[in-house]
């Protein structure tokens, strides 16, 4: 099905209704398997059982940047291709990204206290992640500030693309600056430094988080389409009332 066909709201809603139960079931299964694997994963020889926080912290960190990546592609869709689904996708992803970023910051803080001796330090990785969270809040606020969805979409798209500069800063902050946060240990040249007994549960949890994101994103997009249909009908109703 060509992407432009999905611009038809009825067709998109029908497709979402059909896909969502399967995505939801896959998400539940992935979480069940991931949590079972995390439960039986061994303690780290240095960090002890606190390494179990990694199974929440790392996937939520990945999702925090992936959601902004989705919004950036959607921003291009709004500004360049003017696809009507693009701003729906961007608007629906923002609260999800904010939630995953908040979860990343909180779990990181709870992991940092026993391991580093502090909940927070203003190093480059933590600060750039906090900036990402604040940008999510800014984007959500902007959506609510401008009443017309078309104008809001263009303003948010520009802000999103500018904010995308933070993504490489987050990724490479641990290489560019001296940080208390450890360097990349999963996706790095030379392979992962994490033992398979912990890496496999981590990857399964990452898949579970990703599936949850796409499930909620699709559902939130469907909600947004319905909200816009409601808005249109209200305007028609107001026009009809004004005409009499």
């Amino acid at each position: 099905m060509p992407l432009i066909d999905l611009a038809n709201p009825t067709r998109f809603r029908t497709l979402a209704d059909r896909i969502l139960p399967w995505l939801g079931a896959a998400t539940i299964l992935a979480f069940a398997l991931g949590l079972q694997q995390a439960y039986f994963a061994p303690n780290d020889y240095q960090q002890g059982a606190t390494v179990k926080i990694m199974f929440l912290h790392v996937p939520s960190a990945w999702l925090s940047t992936m959601a902004w990546g989705v919004m950036s592609v959607a921003a291009l869709g709004t500004l360049v291709w003017r696809h009507p689904l693009a701003d729906v996708a961007a608007k629906s992803a923002a609260p999800l990204g904010a939630a995953f970023t908040l979860l990343c910051l909180i779990t990181g803080s709870l992991w940092g206290r026993p391991m580093w001796g502090t909940y927070w330090v203003w190093d480059a990785r933590l600060t750039s992640e906090l900036v990402l969270f604040l940008m999510y809040l800014g984007v959500i606020a902007l959506w609510h500030t401008i009443d017309d969805p078309g104008r809001a979409a263009r303003a948010v798209a520009v802000l999103t693309l500018v904010g995308a500069l933070d993504l490489p800063i987050i990724k490479f902050s641990v290489d560019w600056w001296n940080t208390l946060h450890q360097p990349a240990s999963v996706f790095r040249v030379g392979g992962s430094t994490i033992d398979r007994s912990m890496l496999i549960p981590l990857l399964i949890m990452a898949i579970a988080f990703t599936l949850l994101f796409f499930t909620l994103h699709l559902a939130a997009m469907r909600n947004e389409i319905m909200r816009r249909r409601v808005r249109t009908l209200l305007m028609l109703r107001a026009d009809a009332a004004g005409g009499h």
């Binding site: 611009a7 038809n8 709201p9 009825t10 439960y39 303690n43 002890g48 059982a49 606190t50 179990k52 926080i53 929440l56 912290h57 939520s60 009507p84 689904l85 701003d87 729906v88 609260p95 999800l96 939630a99 908040l102 979860l103 909180i106 779990t107 709870l110 992991w111 206290r113 026993p114 017309d148 969805p149 078309g150 949850l212 909620l216 559902a219 939130a220 469907r222 909600n223 389409i225 319905m226 909200r227 816009r228 249909r229 409601v230 808005r231 249109t232 009908l233 209200l234 305007m235 028609l236 109703r237 026009d239 009809a240």
Partner: protein, 68 residues
């Protein structure tokens, strides 16, 4: 001991992390489901109101009304 698992001296941090994750993810799911119910109800009300008056164009995304 949590679920038969000895989490050591930092158990409170691990338990808090998982508890907060449950709260945040559950809040997300509840928000999306509640929003869907709210929009579906409003849409049903409006479509019921519009029925019998005239056929409504399926305008969809932008909120703009296309006449014709």
């Amino acid at each position: 001991m949590v679920l038969g698992l000895d989490l050591g001296p930092h158990a409170a941090f691990i338990e808090s992390a998982y508890a907060i994750a449950v709260v945040i993810l559950a809040a997300l799911i509840i928000w999306v489901v509640a929003d869907h119910r709210r929009q579906a109800r409003r849409l049903a009300d409006l479509e019921a109101y519009g029925k019998g008056r005239r056929a409504e164009p399926d305008t969809g995304f932008s909120g703009k009304v296309e006449s014709g």
